[in-house]
């Protein structure tokens, strides 16, 4: 029947009876392709299950170990796993909180500048610059923080300690045996404050990028309604932009926090941390973070010591997991609220 139309016979791979509706053989291409796709998706599940399983199986013996079995020379004097893991967890959270205190106002301000204040062309170019900041490898941040930022800030820390030591966090004075107070400032500015500053710098572009997205999604209608009522730009931002974006900013901050908690190299390079708990920012006695502690000790540790570090890594994984879950939860609830898909 297709003699008048030669092309019809060329159509289709099963060309012998191209006008039959019944498939001559199963369509292997579709089956294979959907099989590969589903298989890859399941790989994600397998990989994560593997991460959880392998970490746990290596970590469990270390978590329940007796004090004298510790393989790490520094912490063997400190007792069981939790006695050094918990101070490290404190250091991790403390450094991240400090970084957030600096990064959140900065990042939200920059995002606001790029979305609602800067001229459009400027905003695009500067947006790229901020994204480039996000691309700088953490080891380079660490190098810069250690060799450039810390020494630059050292005189400032000295001044801070002399004039602001009434504020407990900035107090770096210690009484000697004879009762005389001596400053115990960190050498070359390598203290918790510098580390937190570099951390803040590293998470600022992440929070900026996400909040800028959210700010730009503010319905133009709301903004114009506000401006039409005679609001100044700042009043418009307060009335229309910020209320709309609040959940988005919170989740952006949580994601930034997750990043700060897990950041390794910058802290490992800048901070000569110890296993201890203190809120003081300027002294040479600084709490270490889990990630930095692992990086500093893993290469030299042996056998059981490595397992203990893996156990610490598992704790870090759980902390970041919880923070990220909360962030995703906020995003998901917001999506339901706005009704948009």
């Amino acid at each position: 029947m297709s003699t008048q139309t030669p092309p019809a016979e060329q159509v289709g791979t099963e060309s012998d009876d191209s006008h039959s509706l019944v498939r001559s053989k199963a369509r292997y291409g579709d089956a294979l392709f959907s099989g590969i796709s589903s298989g890859s998706a399941l790989m994600i599940f397998v990989i994560l299950a593997a991460v959880a399983t392998f970490l746990t199986s290596q970590a469990l013996p270390a978590m329940t170990s007796e004090p004298d079995h510790t393989g790490l020379s520094e912490v063997s004097a400190l007792g069981g796993f939790w006695q050094w893991a918990l101070p490290l967890a404190f250091g991790t959270v403390w450094s991240a909180v400090l970084a957030m205190l600096m990064a959140v106002p900065l990042a939200v301000g920059i995002a606001l500048y790029l979305s609602h204040y800067a001229p459009r062309r400027v905003a695009r170019i500067f947006g790229y610059l901020i994204d480039l900041l996000a691309a700088v490898p953490s080891v380079v941040f660490g190098l810069w923080g250690l060799m450039v930022l810390a020494p630059t800030l050292h005189p400032f820390y000295k001044w801070l300690n002399e004039t602001m030591s009434w504020f407990p966090l900035f107090n770096a004075w210690q009484a000697r045996e004879d009762g005389e107070l001596r400053p115990v400032l960190a050498v070359g500015g390598q203290n918790m404050l510098t580390a937190a500053m570099v951390l803040a710098l590293m998470i600022t572009p992440i929070i900026t990028a996400l909040s800028r997205e959210v700010f730009l999604q503010t319905p133009l209608l709301h903004e114009e309604a506000s401006l039409a009522l005679g609001a100044t730009r700042w009043e418009m931002v307060k009335q229309a932009v910020l209320p709309f974006s609040r959940p988005g900013i919170i989740s952006a901050c949580m994601l930034g926090l997750g990043r700060a908690l897990g950041e390794t190299m910058a802290v490992a390079m800048i901070l000569p941390g110890k296993v201890l708990v203190t809120f003081k920012l300027l002294t040479y006695n600084n709490p270490n973070t889990i990630a930095a502690y692992i990086a500093q000790n893993f290469p030299e540790s042996e056998g059981f010591g490595k397992m203990q570090l893996i156990a610490a890594g598992l704790i870090l994984f759980i902390i970041t997991l919880v923070v990220n879950m909360i962030a995703r939860g906020i995003i998901a609830s917001r999506r339901e609220f706005s009704g948009a898909n």
Binding site: Q10, G12, S15, L21
Partner: protein
């Protein structure tokens, strides 16, 4: 080569939602059949069930028979992909492939199915299809330019050329002119009248003048009540439907007293 379509007791569902109920309809070959009716009455849904595009949407299925020259499209072992090679479709908005040139768009049906064709035959097919879609003279000098660079009306005719290039038996058109200006619409309507010499043409339209102008047979779909499934109310020669319909609902709709 044009084939007769018989729809028997067709019920169409989207998941739990019963969209269309109990359609019985015969569509004659070498003629234009128009589906008219208000929005949401299921006319596009019925159209999409004729080339099994309906089931592309997740959870959608049909119950009943659609016979193409006596062969049930929903029969056992029928391959929907093969059905679509015989029942072509043109969509509401022109949708040429943006990564392909005009020439590649026309050949898309052949190429995407990996069929081999000598260059000379390809050229022949491109010219034949574009002439069939009344587009050849406008684009013959720029066949290698992107298809998305054409005007809306030209894009829609390119889509028609793409559909007829795989030599279907039936061409379905889902509101093919609703995104076009009046002049482009006229060009498409002229083309539809020419296409019926070779194909069975089914067109869904919101525009009753268009149905009156181009179709030989008209089928009117409506909802009995809001929330009820859509139904086929009346079908007959276009002349009769527009001037002397049997059903009150049809007359109300035609004369604009609907709703």
């Amino acid at each position: 080569m044009a084939k007769r379509i018989e729809i028997k007791d067709l019920d169409i569902y989207y998941g739990k939602f019963h969209a269309v109920r109990g359609v019985n309809l015969t569509i004659e070959p070498r003629a234009v059949t128009a589906f008219i009716g208000s929005s949401g009455c299921g006319k596009s849904t019925v159209l999409r069930s004729i080339n099994r595009m309906h089931e592309v949407i997740e959870g959608a299925y049909v119950d009943g028979q659609v016979l193409l020259d006596g062969v049930d499209l929903y029969g056992k072992d029928v391959d929907p992909v093969r059905v679509r090679r015989q029942v072509g479709m043109v969509f509401q908005r022109p949708n040429p492939f943006p990564t392909m040139s005009i020439r590649e768009n026309v050949l898309a049906g052949v190429r995407l199915n990996n069929a081999r064709m000598p260059r000379s035959e390809q050229d022949e097919l491109v010219e034949k299809s574009l002439r069939g879609a009344n587009l050849w003279n406008e684009v013959k000098d720029r066949l290698d330019r992107p298809g998305s660079g054409l005007s809306g009306g030209q894009q829609q005719r390119l889509c028609i050329a793409r559909a007829i290039a795989i030599s279907p038996d039936v061409i379905l058109m889902d509101e093919p002119c609703s995104a076009l200006d009046p002049i482009s619409t006229l060009a498409i309507e002229d083309l539809i009248k020419e296409l019926k010499d070779q194909y069975t043409v089914v067109i869904v339209t919101h525009n009753m003048q268009q149905a009156a102008r181009v179709s030989d047979t008209t089928a009117f779909f409506n909802l009995k009540k809001q929330g009820e499934p859509g139904e086929l109310i009346e079908v007959g020669p276009t002349e009769k439907i527009f001037h002397n319909p049997d059903q009150q609902a049809t007359e109300d709709y035609i004369t604009g007293r609907f709703g």
